[in-house]
Every structure is written in C-alpha cells, then in structure tokens.
C-alpha cells in the first residue's frame, strides 16, 4: 500500500512530503515551558534576542512562531537532549518562541561562537539559524541572523558577501544597549528579509 517505502539502504531519491501552514491553532500544542529560554534569563553570558515579525502591510503578525538553532558561545554544535524539559543548566542550542499579541518574540540565548571552518571554504561569520512559521505562511521559511560585530568576518561570509548590501542588512541584528540583539523579520515588501532555499535543483 505504501508508495514511499525504500527497498534498501542504497540511496534512492524520494520526493519530499509537502509542507503546510502551521495554521492558527498551534498555540496549545507547540509552545512549552521555557521554550524560548536556551539559558535561564540572568545567567552570565546570556543575552536577549528579540524582534517583531511583520507582514507586507508593515503590520506586526500576532500568530507567528519561530525556532532558533545555534552553536554555543564557543562555536560548538551541541548535541544534547533536554530542550523540551529544560534543567536550567544544559545549553541545547535550540529554542522556540511564539510571538505575543503585538508580534514581538523573545529568546534568551548566547552570542553564537564561530564554528570550525569547512576545509577549503572561507570561514563563515557566526549566525543563528532561524525557521519561521505563521498562519497564512504556506510553508516554513529559513533564514539566519548574524551578529553585527566583526565586519571583516561579515564581509568574507559566503552568504552575506553574495547579497547586495540592501538585502544583506536584513540578516544582521542590531546590538542593544544591554548587550542583547534586536532583529525583525519582514515576510514581504521592500525590506523583505532574505529567506533561504537549501534545495537547489536535484538531479
């Protein structure tokens, strides 16, 4: 009956299942206690990452939900469980935040450190990977938020250096007075955030 079962471990290129909108009713399902606290607020080294998700009319979207996934402050990619039931001490690198009534999201996290460069490739500037979900958004969107410091690294970053300056700035956070990061997402319009496609064309 199944159309999709592979017959062996030999790579078989299967067609991915389509995505669908997260819809309006995720609010009692996806959020969980401390979902947006990768570290407990106030922990030394912790920062706030915050922003607003806007639609094409420039209005805040009150029913979007974001996920971030990032290395720790030393640039290590963490592979530890415990994101859904946080013990308050383990940094897992992943968090989820539904925006509030005014479209504002908040995470408590750390500045991501630089990860090991891939041999033969220029080092990428540190960034936080982001997935965006919303009612009215048919499929999740991927993007990145970069730290504003270290302009040399930003200038050499493979993705950023390939974007025109107006679009590049949509991926770079502002540093707040308290050390936190502010970064807004615009789903549509003149300052539309750069959203990423990792698929390209498969042979």
């Amino acid at each position: 009956m199944s159309k999709l079962t592979p017959t062996s471990l030999t790579p078989t290129v299967l067609t991915p299942t389509p995505g669908q909108t997260v819809g309006p009713f995720y609010g009692y399902a996806l959020p969980f206690t401390k979902d947006n606290e990768l570290l407990a607020p106030g922990t030394p080294g912790s920062i706030r990452l915050q922003g607003i998700v806007y639609d094409g009319a420039g209005d805040p979207i009150p029913d979007a939900i974001l996920e971030i996934w990032q290395p720790d402050a030393d640039g290590n990619i963490v592979q530890r469980t415990g994101s859904l039931v946080r013990d308050g001490y383990t940094f897992t690198g992943w968090g989820r935040a539904a925006v509030g009534n005014t479209g504002v999201y908040t995470f408590t996290t750390v500045n991501p450190g630089p990860t090991e460069p891939v041999p033969g490739k220029p080092g990428a500037a540190p960034f936080i990977a982001v997935a965006v979900f919303a009612r009215g958004l048919m499929n999740r969107l991927f993007t990145r938020v970069y730290l504003p410091e270290n302009e040399e690294a930003l200038a050499k970053d493979p993705l950023l250096s390939s974007l025109d300056p107006e679009r590049r700035k949509t991926l770079i956070a502002r540093r707040d007075h308290d050390g936190g990061l502010s970064w807004d997402i615009r789903l549509q319009g003149r300052d539309e955030t750069v959203f990423l496609d990792f698929e390209g064309i498969r042979a």
Binding site: Y26, L30, A124, A129
Partner: protein, 291 residues
C-alpha cells in the same frame, strides 16, 4: 509540557485574530467571496499549472507560498525568490531530542484525561525518512488536531461545536531506530473557518518533524483518504500538483487496524535530502557520530 491533569482551556496569552475561526460572526470581507468564487480561483490556478506541465515545466512538490485563494497568505508570502544558499555548520545538524524530552505516554492522545474522548479511535503510524530513504531515528514528532466535533481547544476557536473534556489533541513521540512513529488518537472532524463564506477545512492532523539536519525541518498536515472537501480547500489546493497533494493523504490500512479497538492509518513522511556527508554508522541509523 503537556498538562495532563488540570484545565483543558489554553493559557490566556494565546492569540489568534478573531477574524479567521469565528463561525458565528460573518465579517464583510469574508462575505465578499463564496465557495463558488473560491472554487473558480482554485480551478483557474490548477488549469494554468496543467498547461505549464504540458509545456514541459517540472512538477511542483511543495505548496505555493503565493496562493491568493488562501487569503491570509496574501500579505504573508515573500515576493522575492528564496535565496539559494549552501547550508553551513549548524544547519547541517539538528537539535537532539530524547526520552528526557518526551514521555512514552504522550503518543496516546486518548489517555490524557480521566475519561475516554468521544470519537472514532484511530492509530496513525508510519516512518520518517530522509530524501535518500534513510530512517530518521530518535527524532521529535509533534502533532495537534481538532476533536471529533471539529473543535480545537483554543480560546479563539469559537466554532459552536462541543469541546471534549477528555481530549486535548496534542501528542508527541520520538521516532524509533527505523524512523517509525505511532500515535493513538481520535479522528478529527472537519471545521469551518473564515477564509470565505461556507469555508470548511478537510479533517487533518498537524504534524511537526525534525530531520537529521535543520534544513529538513517541516511542519505539515496529514489528511484522510476520500475527503469530499479536498477540491474546495485552498490550503490543500495550494499544492497545485495532484501527486504532491496525495503525499499528504494517509492510507487506510486494515492490517494496522486493531480488532475491536481502533482503525489503522499509515502515513510516511519524506524529508528533503541530506546535505551532509554521512558516515557509515549514521547511514545505518546510529546517531551521534561526528562526520
């Protein structure tokens, strides 16, 4: 965490614009379009896609972000092309989830309260595979759904159908070594929404999955075979290719039906292909190796 003991009502801060789900109130903009109007729009986009296919266009496999029949998408779809990027470092890994995160009982949505939920008890099971057919082992699957009457436990769902005090409609599990998942739940009902006059969503279960790489993250909806609402629903039809739409429809499987207990449905999920070079151990399902 699932709260299995107290109120079925959601937290006060959950917000959905009232315009969409409230059936008792018909706003002027919603009144502007009938199902007939919507069906004509859907049909015209479908015809254009069929023509493109005949002219040699590649089949589409994902929903269109810009799909005007789903009115909420009009101001919420990017107008610039998605920017092609090579996934880097963190994007080539996924967060790790395990049994610390999810209790085994969270996969049974029929035992979260003191009594039995009303409705047709079902078992939904299948496998999470990547685009190369490898099982996605030890990863998080989350689901949420309406109850048998088509009502979500969400304060902004004002559809005048009954809440079920014995059904929350939220489940989680961790996939097995072969990528398998299994939920026991009840079949959700169709429900009305405010996209246009007399708009009804086909019965569906929301699914959220992680792969072995963050680039494989997906949230989607599983549907039930033979639903008469399929041609009328702009969310389902936002996937303009019939083969692609079919990938969201579960298969009734009598062999998975549990005698005198629950009807069985099978639904496999294929994530996008892996971008990372896999070690032999990873390819055989042993997580945790560095490349």
């Amino acid at each position: 965490m699932l709260d299995q003991s107290t109120s079925v009502l959601p937290a006060e801060d959950e917000l959905v614009p009232a315009a969409e789900p409230r059936a008792a109130h018909v706003s002027s903009d919603a009144a502007a379009n009938t199902q007939e109007d919507l069906t004509a729009e859907i049909g015209s986009l479908s015809d254009a896609y069929a023509r493109a296919l005949r002219n040699g266009a590649a089949p589409e496999t994902q929903p269109r972000l810009d799909y005007a029949p789903y009115r909420s998408s009009i101001l919420r779809h990017p107008t610039k092309n998605l920017y092609h990027a090579d996934p880097e470092t963190i994007e080539l890994y996924s967060p790790a989830f395990g049994h610390q995160d999810v209790h085994a009982l969270e996969s049974d949505l029929t035992i979260q309260h003191n009594g039995e939920p009303i409705g047709e008890r079902i078992i939904v099971q299948g496998k999470v595979l990547d685009g190369d057919g490898r099982p996605v082992a030890g990863q998080l699957v989350e689901i949420w759904q309406a109850n048998a009457a088509g009502r979500y436990i969400h304060k902004r769902d004002q559809h005048p159908a009954p809440l079920d005090p014995n059904f929350t409609g939220v489940g989680r599990c961790i996939t097995g070594p072969d990528g398998s998942y299994r939920f026991t739940t009840i079949k959700p009902g169709a429900y009305p929404w405010k996209n246009h006059l007399n708009a009804w969503r086909p019965a569906h279960i929301h699914f959220s999955m992680f792969g072995t790489e963050f680039t494989q993250r997906i949230v989607t909806q599983m549907y039930f075979p033979g639903d008469q609402l399929f041609p009328l629903d702009p969310i389902y039809q936002s996937i303009v290719d019939q083969d692609a739409r079919d990938r969201l429809v579960a298969t009734y499987n009598h062999e998975q039906t549990s005698p005198e207990w629950a009807l069985g449905y099978n639904w496999d999920i294929i994530l996008s292909g892996s971008k990372r070079t896999w070690t032999e151990n990873e390819a055989f399902g042993n997580a945790g190796d560095e490349e």
